[in-house]
Amino acid sequence: MRLQGRTALVTGAGTGIGRGIALLFAQEGATIVVNDYDATSGERTVELIEDAGGRGVFVRADVSDPAAVGAMIDAAVQVSGRVDVLVNNAGIDLPQATSVVDTRIEDWDRTLAVNLRGVFLCSRAVIPLMKEKGGGVIVNIASIAGLRPMPQEAAYGASKAGLVLLTKQMARDFAGDAIRVNCVCPGPMEKPTRDRLEFLRSRQTAYEKRQAFADQIPLGRMCKPQDIASAALFLASGESSMVTGVELVVDGGFILT
């Protein structure tokens, strides 16, 4: 129970990595404030937490909207009076891969607004609360696309690169307040939903396509939410009390290739 007695706010916790983190942190004893843009999936995450004997509360918000973020933090404080851990996981990636030339201006803006400004807005709201309580932990979910240029992913890559540096910058500014800030950089994720849609669209076996991609990864498989959740748990717990400002790559060795 490495997070016993602590309260964690996890953004984008309705699906995928965010849900994986919320469930694992709840298992380790934390009360979870589950945020998502989508209420149905967010409420479902809370149900799963409670089914497993944990405690969770859903708060809907678009993290790129300052007013919504303010209301979300107020609601989080209502739950247990504190936010000990902030996991900035909410993020978007456009379905089409586009270079700077092909990216629509509004898509660039939206990607940066959620992926980077969203982290800025949530962090600036939570940090003063953490300072008041004598410390805290922020874990940002970035991407290997923020470390290496991913083909045709201009907006996403730029937003994640910004997030990696923002992580280190915040770590520097707030280390003296006992606030640690780190990020996790996932590699390519298994995407069962996208694969099903792809199969319907193209009639090619999505499994075969996915397996061909996985074969390029040194450890031979795609990343699962559980891999990221375990890394986030290490960074959120006391075992990493001397770790701040790092990017922890969890990618099966993909960026080595």
Binding site: S240, T244, V249, D251, L256
Partner: protein
Amino acid sequence: MELQGRAAIVTGAGGGIGKGIVLSLATAGADIVLVDLDQAAADAVATKVRKLGRRALVVETDVTDKASVVDMVSRAAEWSGGISILVNNAGVEIIRPVFEISESDWDKTMAVNLKGAWLCAQLVGQTMAEAGDGGRIINIGSIMSEMPAPGEPHYAASKGGILMLTKALALDLAPYSITVNSIGPGVVKNGMSSRGCLADGEMAEIVASKIPLRRLGRPEDIGHAVVFLASEKASYVTGVMLYVDGGMILASAWS
């Protein structure tokens, strides 16, 4: 206990950080093969491992000498029934003014810090590959893997070498489900680099005040990171350098 039923080799097990790593692994349930040139120091740590209820084997070894390492690996394998964790922690640090570093300073530093890590990784990695159950190799680098400090170009080069050795071995050993990662400590109490600048309590306080998280590292901080990388939870992490330095690397420039 995360490492229940597993066996680990730790080189430089008699030193400050080595002891922290050994005790963290043992607390997590692993049996330990303690490797060091200094048998007495390793024996003292082995006693503590047994007090924790785990088995310990001390093997006096020179990690720069292939014959010595070959012998150690075969004894370790036989004793443990199968090594699944190797921590390359043995290291030396010789600080001198830039024009006074001798060839033997360079050679010794490279031999222990870099060649020793490679030799152990190759030989232990081979037994892991043959056993077919995967494994974990963890190299102890340093913040000096990427951030220089005065008077130690040879040490910095050896630790920078650890950074790339880690990535290259991660690629080569992935097909055997062996992950290879490194940890970069900053200034650690009782660690090698602390003996000079931290011998004086007042100096220790001054150094700690310059570290963003406002304290010196403890050997168990490194131990915790080793346990994480050695555990099942980190099975998808390979080829990384994880700095456990209290933010020292962050505080580069604009200090």
